[in-house]
């Protein structure tokens, strides 16, 4: 199937930051069978990430405050890309920066790589002090970043949106106006967990990003709103654990989905979800009935 000019193998991809650099999951499932691989966010320079603890479990969800730990673009190009390039699965590289220029530079250098089939622009990470979500909550800054990326690359661009906004369609439309070829939603909701014994945060940072089944109802709603508001494909993300969950996003208007937190619970999640989804679609050739 085709999505915004990317030839996906199927509609079930893996979500940025939850599937490492692919390598980590290669023992557990056949990477060739994924709809696409979306890498963890890459930054221009290496980032050490946030202090531990970085993970807190919450009811039917988890908070993370990874803080975009990664080795930077050069390392990625040298060490990770060659591995990922070996698979028949399209590779979508997720990028994050502290300024529009950084995003543009990342996009420019990545588009030289033939293995890269698309760029997902993370303007929605809640775990960094500069950049990230600060862009994605502001229509003007969203436009600025996406326009800069658009100018820097001819690759398909997916703008990854944050749910921490009053109206996600405003941000989505801004991204489309600036040249986004697709939208993905949602990144994590900003949350907190307090250690009642110490009175401090249960994360090394004050806040983290909430993911997992807990956020699915919010994610489905936002995908529905986006799909009706914009004329580019929407990729649904948020709490997908089963083929039924994936179907829910497709019915809400998504063209494809990304599986995130589920990878931690079940290393075979994306392929199991794909099988369940195919099975469901088979039984329900056409079911779309939202008013």
């Amino acid at each position: 199937m085709e999505l915004a000019g990317i030839e996906l193998k199927n509609p079930v991809m893996v979500a940025s930051g939850t599937f490492g650099w692919g390598r980590e999951y290669a023992d557990y499932l056949d990477l060739n069978k994924l709809g696409a691989i979306v890498t963890k966010s890459i930054t221009l320079l290496p980032r050490e990430g946030n202090p531990p603890p970085r993970i807190v479990e919450t009811p039917s969800g988890m908070l993370n405050s990874i803080g975009l730990q990664n080795e930077g673009l050069d390392y990625f190009l040298k060490e990770d890309l060659p591995f990922l390039a070996k698979f028949a699965t399209p590779l979508i590289v997720n990028i994050a920066g502290e300024s529009a220029e950084e995003y543009a530079e990342l996009a420019k250098r990545l588009s030289r790589e033939t293995a890269v089939k698309g760029i997902e622009v993370n303007i929605s990470c809640p775990n960094v002090k500069k950049g990230g979500m600060a862009f994605g909550v502001d229509a003007g800054l969203t436009k600025e970043v996406i326009a800069a990326v658009k100018k820097a690359t001819s690759q398909p661009i997916i703008a990854k949106l944050t749910p921490n906004v009053t109206d996600i369609t405003v941000i989505g439309q801004a991204a489309v106006d600036a040249g986004a070829d697709a939208l993905s939603a949602i990144n994590t909701l900003v949350g907190m967990a307090i250690d009642i014994e110490t009175g401090g945060s249960r994360l090394g940072t004050l806040t983290g990003g909430l993911s997992g089944p807990a956020i699915k109802p919010v994610a489905v709603r936002m995908v529905y709103e986006l799909a009706r508001a914009v004329n580019v494909p929407v990729i649904g993300i948020g709490g997908i654990m089963s083929g039924g969950d994936a179907a829910e996003f497709l019915l809400a208007g998504a063209q494809a989905v990304e599986v995130g937190t589920a990878n931690f619970v079940d290393t075979a999640a994306p392929l199991r979800i794909l099988a369940e989804l195919n099975d469901h679609v088979h039984r329900h050739p056409r079911a779309l009935n939202l008013s």
């Binding site: 930051g17 939850t18 599937f19 490492g20 980590e24 999951y25 023992d27 557990y28 963890k40 050490e48 990430g49 202090p51 531990p52 603890p53 970085r54 993970i55 807190v56 479990e57 009811p59 039917s60 969800g61 988890m62 993370n64 990874i66 730990q69 997992g212 089944p213 807990a214 654990m241 937190t261 990878n263 931690f264 619970v265 079940d266 290393t267 075979a268």
Partner: protein
């Protein structure tokens, strides 16, 4: 290589106030796991609690195709785990991480466990001594610290592997009154000649503060030391960058680069 596998519960016994021993059938894990490695256990089928729980391999029996886990109920995940009956299957991911490294040049193996920290030491002791039978020239000493007599778990079983088991409890209700580092210091100062230090290695597992103290002792005495760390985990396989520990070369992942680290590598704060 680790795999995700459903393993049958062969035995499941309460062995302490909140402590359980779980025997699982897995030829794969029993043949591939190394002491110090762990499995990531799915404690329930619903989404709350959502994440797997890391548990060390307590025993690894390749011959029988069995592994044992020893765990304490401390929260909802372990609580649910403790309710699983014999015959049911448990979804495991493992063996994970880097375990203890056994250096053939070392002859004296000092193992210090605090609380549930003794869990991986059993597998390690059995490995060193050749699964139960003493090996000539290799001495294994096990030092255990616990809150009180009741939470001093597995002592009798450890004595089957070595007759050198010393214990300490915070309240003195069993063994020496004190903590496990008291035992260690005492041992190093009065039971081991300084000349044996280079032939010795300390392995420790337990609460962070204990490990920090053990590392400091090892540093001062210039004894090799391997520590098994704990951190909150999501993936357990190095993918999420969720379980960092500060090392001299930056953050490393407890689940993948550890859980066992050379004490010299670690940066405490």
């Amino acid at each position: 290589m680790a795999i995700q596998e459903k393993c049958r519960i062969e035995d499941h016994k309460q062995v302490g106030p909140r402590h359980y021993k779980l025997t699982l059938a897995s030829q794969y894990l029993a043949s591939h796991a190394q002491p110090g490695q762990f499995v990531n256990v799915r404690c329930c089928e619903t989404s709350d609690p959502l994440l797997r729980r890391p548990i060390s391999l307590h025993r690894i029996d390749a011959q029988k195709g069995m592994i044992e886990l020893l765990y304490e109920v401390v929260g909802r995940g372990t609580e649910l785990l403790s309710k699983k009956p014999v015959g049911q299957e448990l979804d495991l991911l493992g063996p994970l991480g880097a375990g203890f490294k056994i250096d053939p040049a070392k002859k004296i193996h000092l193992m210090a466990g605090g609380g549930m920290g003794i869990a991986p030491l059993r597998a390690l002791a059995e490995q060193v001594t050749g699964r139960g039978s003493r090996v000539a020239g290799q001495a294994v000493y096990i030092l255990i610290g616990a809150k009180n007599k009741e939470s001093l778990i597995g002592e009798d079983e450890l004595r089957k592997t070595t007759d050198q088991v010393q214990t300490a409890t915070d309240d003195g209700s069993a063994g020496k009154k004190g903590v496990v580092t008291d035992l260690l210091l005492d041992f190093l100062d009065s039971q081991l000649s300084v000349t044996s230090y280079p032939l010795s290695v300390i392995y420790a597992c337990g609460p962070r503060l204990m490990l920090k103290a053990v590392a400091e002792i090892a540093r001062q005495k210039k004894i090799d030391c391997q520590l098994s760390l704990e951190e909150r985990m999501a993936c357990g396989i190095g993918a999420c960058k969720g379980c960092p520990v500060k090392t001299v070369s930056g953050y490393k992942m407890v689940c993948k680069d550890g859980p066992v680290f050379d004490a010299k590598e670690l940066v405490w704060n």
